[in-house]
Subunit: 212 residues, 2 copies
DNA sequence: TTTTAATTGTGAATTCTATCACAATCTATT
DNA sequence: AATAGATTGTGATAGAATTCACAATTAAAA
C-alpha cells in the first residue's frame, strides 16, 4: 500500500479533493470521526469507492469507527500537495482573469496568485487587487524571479496557443487552460482544460435525450 | 447503431463537443473532409476512439475518404441539441457571474442568457449587458414566463444549497454549478459541478508526484 | 469478559471503456 | 476494368475502474 509513486488515476485524485471538502465541512459541523459510508453519501459515491481510493495511499481508518477527520484532512492535504504554497500566475486580466484573481477559493487552498500578465498598456505596470500586472514580454524574467509554478490561462482564444507555448518554454509545469485552444505539451507537464461550453453542451445533450 | 436513447457515457458526450470544436476549426482552415485519425491527432485521442464514439449515433463517414466536415458539424449539433436555442439564467451577478454573462462562447453555441438573478438591491431591476437582472424572489415567475431551461450557479457558496433547491423546485432540469456546494438532485435532472479548486489540486498532486 | 454492532481494507468479480485488427468499401490511377 | 491506397465500422479483446462481499478489527454494551 501507500505507494504514492505508482500511477494513480486522475479520477481518484479528483475524488480526493472532493473528500477533502467533505471532511472540512464535517469538521465545521463538529464531527470527530466520519465513515466511508457518510463521505460517500454526501457526494453520491459508494462507500467501497471511498475506501479503495484512500487505500491507495495508506490505512487511515479505524475499523468499527471510521476516519479521524482532522487527521485525514492533514493526510489528504499532504497527499495533494496543499501543505506548501503554490505560486500561481494568471494570464489575461479580462473578465474571467479578473474574476479568478479575486477568487477566495484559491488563496485558502494555498494557491497564491503572485503575478498577472496582460498586453493591454492600460492594464500593465499597475496592480490589480494588490497583485502586480506585468506585460507578457516579461514572462520569462518574472517567472524565474518569482518562481512561478502554475499558470492559469484566460487570454483570448486567438492568443492562447502562443501564450501556452511560451509558458511551457519558460518551464511552468502546471497549466490550467480556460480557453478553447488545445495545445500539445511534453509528458512531464500537466495541462488541464476547463471547457465551459462543453459542460453546457453535455447538459444540453442529456436534457434532450432523457426520456421525460 | 444510431440508438440515441440507449445510455451513452458522459465521456463520449464530452468528446463529441471536442470533435465539434475540431471540425469547426478544420472547416475554417478550408478543409472539406477529415479522417478519424486527424480528429484524434488534434486532440490526443486514438482514431478508433473517435470512430466508436461517432458510431454510437450512426454511420457518418465515407470509407477511404473520411467525414464530410460541414455535414458532420450539423449532425453533431443536432445530437448535442445545439440546433435549438437554450434559455439560460445566471444566478449571482458577482465577479464570476458577470464574466459568464459576457462570455461569447455561450451565445455562439446557442446558449442564450435571458435572465440574471441576484439579491443585491444595487444590482436588481436593472440590466447588465442588456440582460435583465431580477431579484431572486422572482425566480419562479420569471422562469415560467421566460421558459428558462438551464441555470448557472455563481452565488456565494453559503447561499448555493438553498438557491439550487429553489431552482430544482422551479423545474429547471439542467444546472451548472460553480460553487463548492454539493446538492442531491432528482434522477431526471442534470447537475454538473465545475470545481476550480479541485482542478488546481489535481495539478498540485501531479506536480509533486511526477518523478522529475 | 463476552457479545453485538459497526466499519475498515482488500482480493475477487463485475461492469464499463478503450483499443485492436481486419473485412468492407470508397476514390483515384493506370 | 483492374489495382492500389486510404479509411470506415465493428466484433473481439484487452484494460481500467468500480462494486461486491467478507475476514479482521475496534468500540461499546451487556
Ligand atoms: N468570460 C468567461 O466567463 C469565460 C468563461 C470560460 C472561458 N472563457 C475564455 O477565457 C478567455 C478570456 O475570456 P474573457 O471573457 O476574460 O476575455 P476578455 O476579452 O475580457 O479578456 C482577455 C484579456 O486578455 C488580454 N490579452 C490579450 N492577449 C494577451 C496576451 N497575449 N497575453 C496576455 N494577455 C492578453 C486582454 O488584454 C484582455 O485583458 C477566452 O478564451 C474565453 O473563451 C471565458
Ligand atoms: N470568482 C471566481 O473566479 C470563481 C471561480 C470559481 C468558483 N467561484 C465560485 O462562484 C461563486 C461566486 O463567486 P464570485 O467571486 O462571483 O462571488 P461575488 O461575491 O463576486 O458574487 C456573488 C454574487 O451573488 C449575489 N448573491 C448573494 N446571495 C444570492 C442569492 N441568494 N441569490 C442570488 N444572488 C445572490 C451577490 O449579491 C453577488 O452579486 C462562489 O461560490 C465562488 O466560490 C468563483
Amino acid at each position: 500500500m501507500a505507494n504514492t509513486l505508482r500511477a494513480i488515476p486522475l479520477s481518484t485524485v479528483e475524488r480526493l479533493s472532493i473528500y477533502l471538502r467533505t471532511l472540512r465541512e464535517s469538521l465545521v459541523e463538529g464531527m470527530d470521526f466520519i465513515s466511508s459510508t457518510e463521505i460517500g453519501k454526501r457526494n453520491d459515491f459508494t462507500a467501497a469507492q471511498v475506501r479503495k481510493d484512500l487505500s491507495c495511499f495508506g490505512n487511515f481508518g479505524i475499523k468499527g469507527t471510521g476516519y479521524q477527520i482532522s487527521e485525514l484532512i492533514n493526510t489528504l492535504e499532504t497527499i495533494l500537495g496543499l501543505d506548501r504554497e503554490w505560486k500561481v500566475a494568471i494570464f489575461g486580466l479580462g473578465k474571467l482573469g479578473g474574476a479568478l484573481a479575486c477568487y477566495k477559493g484559491l488563496k485558502s487552498a494555498r494557491f497564491n496568485v503572485v503575478a498577472i500578465f496582460d498586453v493591454d498598456p492600460k492594464k500593465v505596470d499597475k496592480t490589480y487587487k494588490n497583485i502586480p500586472v506585468y506585460h507578457s514580454d516579461m514572462l520569462k524574467k518574472v517567472v524565474r524571479e518569482k518562481k512561478i509554478q502554475i499558470a492559469i490561462i484566460a487570454v483570448p482564444t486567438d492568443s492562447a496557443k502562443a501564450t501556452i507555448q511560451r509558458i511551457i518554454d519558460a518551464g511552468i509545469k502546471g497549466i490550467l487552460n480556460f480557453t478553447e485552444a488545445r495545445v500539445p505539451y511534453p509528458d512531464e507537464y500537466i495541462l488541464k482544460n476547463v471547457n465551459l461550453a462543453g459542460e453546457l453542451e453535455s447538459i444540453s445533450y442529456y436534457l434532450i435525450h432523457s426520456d421525460l
